[in-house]
């Protein structure tokens, strides 16, 4: 940065001179004006370059993409006025064209409509899974960290037990108990993915409760509940929120995997996983578009969420925020 400041207090220091503006100021100001440059140096953990600008572009790109996808997921099926379940055997496996921008699948269903209808279902399932598993995990982790002793050991062994069973297998068991329905899929993903959040929140609580500000709160007469509510939880919220956001794309993948195996959502309900699962055979017949476009929707939504998560991570902690100049 080539900002300049006069030594007088009359001019605010928050000026934003460009390099050109600074050159112009040479004739106007005193010759003693300092040439400011950033003292930022690459260090472990500190991103290089203009962190603030990159964080903003991450947010704008991520949020823009996600809003566009969400709006499209709502509007395309509605505006199209068509049924994504409409089977048309005269238009089977058509490549992308004006009438069908994403092409059609093996039953002649329009993939644009079906892709966005699927995205809508997938995102809703994913959001529900992320919220449920984060709440469950945060509750478990905070209780474990705050209580300590044998309750902590007991709760953590429960986490270990859940983790010991492969996620997909446990998910399949839950789905199999309730047959293929949206609620069963949500439950199967949420009940297998809260353990990570629980471990993160517990370790944060364990690390934070040894800090001197907790000692200060206790010596100031705060109860254990108050320490948790006013001092520990506010410091954990950024981490918990971050894991919620990161669970979103993961839950989409998981739902996709279940549907791909034929164990997820019922086949008539479009979801990204259903489409990919049904389209995989057609790829061998040369119909690349059946998996390509729905998969791109999945990747785009995951990237958008990851962009927002990265912005949030830089933003959430006051200290890091000021270091990055956000």
């Amino acid at each position: 940065m080539a900002d300049r400041c006069t030594e007088t207090a009359t001019r605010p220091h928050g000026d934003r001179d460009s390099r050109m503006g600074a050159d112009r100021a040479v004739g106007l100001g005193s010759p003693a004006e300092p040439r400011w440059r950033s003292a930022a140096r690459p260090r472990a953990g500190t991103p290089r370059g203009r962190a603030a600008g990159r964080a903003r572009s991450r947010l704008v790109a991520g949020a823009g993409l996600l809003v566009a996808l969400a709006v499209a997921a709502v509007l395309v099926p509605w505006l199209g006025g068509l049924d994504e379940r409409l089977v048309d055997y005269t238009a089977v496996r058509l490549p992308p064209s004006v009438a069908h921008p994403f092409g059609t699948d093996a039953q002649g269903r329009d993939l644009l409509l079906r892709g966005f209808a699927g995205l809508q279902v997938s995102l809703l399932v994913a959001a529900a899974c992320a919220v449920v598993s984060t709440l469950l995990g945060a509750l478990f982790g905070a209780a474990s960290g705050v209580l300590g002793g044998w309750p902590d050991r007991l709760l953590m062994r429960v986490v270990d037990t859940v983790n010991a069973v492969p996620h997909l297998l446990l998910g399949i068991v839950i789905v199999a108990l309730y047959r293929g329905s949206v609620l069963a899929v949500i439950a199967s993903i949420a009940l297998t993915h809260w353990t990570g959040v629980a471990r993160i929140v517990r370790s944060e609580v364990l690390s934070l409760r040894e800090r001197t500000f907790v000692d200060a709160a206790i010596s100031g007469g705060a109860s254990r509940w108050r320490v948790l509510r006013r001092h520990l939880l506010p410091a954990i919220v950024p981490q918990a929120a971050l894991s919620t956001v990161l669970l979103l794309p993961h839950a989409v993948w998981h739902e996709t995997a279940l549907s791909f195996l034929g164990l997820g959502l019922p086949p008539h309900l479009a979801s990204i996983g259903n489409i990919l699962g049904e389209g995989r055979a057609a790829v061998l017949l040369g119909s690349w578009w059946i998996v390509t476009f729905p998969a791109l929707l999945l990747v785009a939504s995951a990237l958008a969420v990851a962009g927002i998560a990265a912005w949030w991570r830089d933003r959430a902690l006051p200290r890091r925020r000021s270091e990055l100049g956000l």
């Binding site: 900002d3 400011w36 440059r37 003292a39 140096r41």
Partner: protein, 313 residues
């Protein structure tokens, strides 16, 4: 001019919020001084006047939202804008930093001795016996050899301070920066710590002692620089500055010493987010001082003062 650290018009500011929208903290304004081998320069001033930021700027350890202006040179080589590869060769082997709270600067999971051996290995690759060097360093700083087998949390404040000093000396750097090395120590340990630094200066090191402990500064300093509200307002040989202060702030600080009346300087220094035009002391003691708009250090012989008329030294 070998092993001479030249700080020339160094300014540091922190911009708060995006592009400084939430304000700018001017931590150091136009600081200039020269640190020569064999001298111990004490940088004194109240808490929050920018002393530690000055040391961080010299070693390139400022946080990422800081901005610098001016220059820092060691043997004619620039340090302020030098890339990290150059600073890596400078830190430890050319400029040693004695940390403020030594106990927190040590890795908590390893024994003190092994950390010192590692430091010696990194800074003296050709040393045939790093372990012997560590024992010699421990002897130099008055660290009992059995302390080397302890973990950092098992050390007292004074012992940890000596470990920090030993680590700073591991690469035998000609320039030593000691940032408040006496914080939290009692009188006896303060004296021992600063005497060690004075001993380093006697052996030809250039030592910068940053402290708000005037008594310690008076005990060992050969030169003294007084900082007030981000500026150096007076600099010169210690005995002259302490016996005949030119700036009223220096006089005020000396008046706070127990043997000189024990009267603290009334009022508070200005906020660094809204610095006045001058050195700022005029706002605090209008009866003693009138600020000039853009104060610079005016030299008279070996002494300099800002914002005040110089006298013949």
């Amino acid at each position: 001019m070998t092993d001479t650290l030249v700080v020339d018009g160094l300014s540091v500011r922190f911009r708060l919020g995006a592009r400084g929208r939430a304000g700018t903290v001017r931590a150091v304004t136009n600081a200039s001084f020269t640190l020569r081998p064999g001298r111990l320069l004490a940088l004194v001033g109240e808490s929050g006047c920018g002393k530690s930021v000055l040391a961080a700027a010299i070693t390139g350890l400022l946080p990422a939202n800081a901005e610098v202006a001016g220059g820092v040179e060691l043997d004619g080589r620039d340090l302020l804008d030098a890339p990290e590869s150059v600073l890596r060769a400078v830190r430890g082997s050319r400029v040693g930093l004695v940390p403020q709270s030594a106990a927190t600067h040590l890795t908590p999971v390893r024994r003190v001795g092994s950390q010192l051996v590692e430091t010696v290995r990194a800074l003296r690759p050709t040393d045939p016996d790093p372990r012997a060097t560590v024992h010699r360093l421990a002897g130099d700083v008055g660290l009992p050899a059995e302390m080397l087998d302890r973990y950092p949390h098992e050390l007292s404040g004074g012992t940890a301070q000596r470990v920090g000093l030993a680590a700073a000396l591991a690469g035998d750097p000609p320039v030593l920066l000691a940032d408040e090395p006496t914080a939290g120590l009692d009188r006896l340990l303060v004296d021992r710590s600063v005497d060690l630094l004075a001993g380093m200066a006697d052996r030809g090191h250039a030592v910068l002692l940053i402290t708000h402990d005037l008594r310690a500064a008076r005990r060992v300093a050969t030169d003294v620089a007084v900082m007030y509200a981000s500026r150096i307002v007076e600099i010169g040989p210690a005995e002259q500055v302490f016996s005949d202060p030119w700036h009223p702030y220096t006089a005020g600080l000396l008046g706070a010493l127990p043997d000189r009346g024990f009267t603290p300087v009334p009022g508070h220094p200005p906020e660094l987010t809204a610095l006045p035009a001058g050195c700022g002391f005029g706002l605090r003691r209008p009866d003693l001082h009138t600020c000039v708009p853009d104060p610079v250090l005016v030299w008279s012989g070996v002494r300099a003062v800002a914002c005040e008329p110089v006298k013949a030294s």
